[in-house]
Symmetry: C2
Subunit: 288 residues, 2 copies
């Protein structure tokens, strides 16, 4: 079994770790535009050897775990290069543009459009984590466009990694994920920015910030290189979520200005029901 | 040693646990307007007996861990009731109004204005945690207005509990805490509200939400009874933080609309420096 990981960062590297464990006999190839990441991945034993697109014709599986703008650019070439029996899957946080890009590719049936809902705020091969995907949901779009036998190959891996599968339409995925992931990242970044701008004395932030602050700003450690293309591709949906979020913040501010504390109380009370929903979300081992 | 805990929830209950451990011979009294909480606290062994204000004259220490509107209302009566040598301290998330309220109280010198930066999103006596305060910062305001010997008594306890102390002016505390705590809570609540309103099908939230979403919305599980009075007392500062935050979100939205992705990248890149600051913040044991 030969598996190629294109993009050996947090996402690709974590897949590599699990594949290594589940299929000890497999050969793991790595392709990465970042030479440092490639060397580090070899050092860490995440991959066995460097490869090139010309080698992909012999690959059993190919994971493309790169920023979504690179994905859109490279996926056609990757599909050109793979063999008849190779299954190619991605992990991109957007799905519509990626699917549209290779809609008519002669090897469309070799591609499975995936979005595993898993990650941390860290990046690069050193961030790779075993079992990052365990108990997590993998959203698969346009499954009917992937050859059945190749679907099965990929699903076998996902099942062994402990992922649960959810099938979804690509446009619907992008619409929902804007609310349930993309907006959270923007809220964190802007919260971080607001505090940094105001709290010129960092000592004050350090002294006064507790775990509540940390959890709302944690995502502000995320990679701009990963998130800029995501917001670009999902722009319309992301702008819509921002509009709604800003409106809700404005209304809350207005209630404070008008001393409507009964309203303030009710808003928070109504939102408390998020508890039930959140209680079902799987975490990364011990760490949030 | 007799310690009275007024308000035996997460905050008061957690103090009780540590005091129990550090001073096994101490008697712990509880006072709580919520009869269920009082009974539960007795059941859990957080306190030894119920007490009333008339008993406070014999107390060595009194912790008032109630919502800040109740605090403002009750603190004068509590100070009326305590003995000459009793040290009374609070844990309120706002400090200016509380300090102003008892500014001229005959027993002002018995009171130490505190804000320990510690907590979880849970409430009530069942939420009480041992060592919640370990390694956390306790902000003390107007320390010079507390009798020296009584300061020492309280500081001794805080030191044994593993807290570090930071002295601050009450108005400055309220100004800074608005940015570093209060705004985070509002952002979480409004994020939760935005998602609940849009994602009518809760299955979708559950399927698509990962730990990133969870961490930004976690604080939306917080108690409205605790937070409404905080926002009310710190209204001017909180409104200011909301204004800045909303402005930053608007600007980000504008950059997306104008396809200024270079700007988007830079904003996120600049905010990445929050990493260094966040790395210093102590967490609650293993759980964020």
């Amino acid at each position: 079994m030969k598996v190629a990981i294109i993009g050996i960062g947090l996402i690709g590297g974590s897949f590599a770790k699990d594949i290594r464990k589940l299929y000890p006999e497999a050969t793991l190839w790595g392709i990465d535009a970042n030479e440092d990441h490639l060397q580090r991945a070899l050092e860490l034993g995440l991959i066995d050897a460097e490869a090139a697109y010309k080698d992909l014709t012999d690959a059993t599986m190919v994971l493309v775990a790169v920023p979504v703008d690179v994905l859109v650019q490279e996926l056609p070439k990757i599909l050109d290069a793979v063999g008849e029996e190779t299954v190619v899957f991605d992990a991109g946080s957007t799905k519509a543009m990626i699917c549209a890009t290779i809609e008519n590719h002669p090897k469309r049936r070799n591609f499975l459009a995936c979005h595993p809902i898993a990650g941390t705020e860290f990046s690069g091969p050193d961030a790779a984590m075993a079992q990052l995907y365990k108990g997590k949901t993998n959203i698969i779009c346009e499954v009917e466009k992937t050859a059945f036998k190749l679907q099965e190959k990929a699903l076998q891996l996902f099942q062994e990694m402990g992922m649960r599968i959810r099938y979804m339409n690509a446009d619907a995925h992008d619409k929902h994920i804007a609310y349930v992931s993309h907006l959270s990242h923007i809220s964190s970044f802007m919260l971080g920015k607001t505090v940094i701008e105001k709290e010129k004395n960092e000592r004050d932030i350090f002294d006064m910030a507790g775990s509540g602050f940390e959890s709302t700003v944690r995502l502000a450690k995320s990679s701009p290189a990963m998130w800029t293309p995501i917001f670009k591709q999902n722009k319309a949906n992301v702008v819509e979520t921002l509009q709604e979020y800003i409106q809700n913040l404005e209304q809350f501010k207005q209630m404070l200005l008008e001393d409507d504390f009964k309203g303030v109380y009710e808003e928070m009370n109504n939102t408390n029901k998020i508890k039930q929903i959140l209680n079902g979300i799987p975490m990364n081992g011990n760490v949030d």
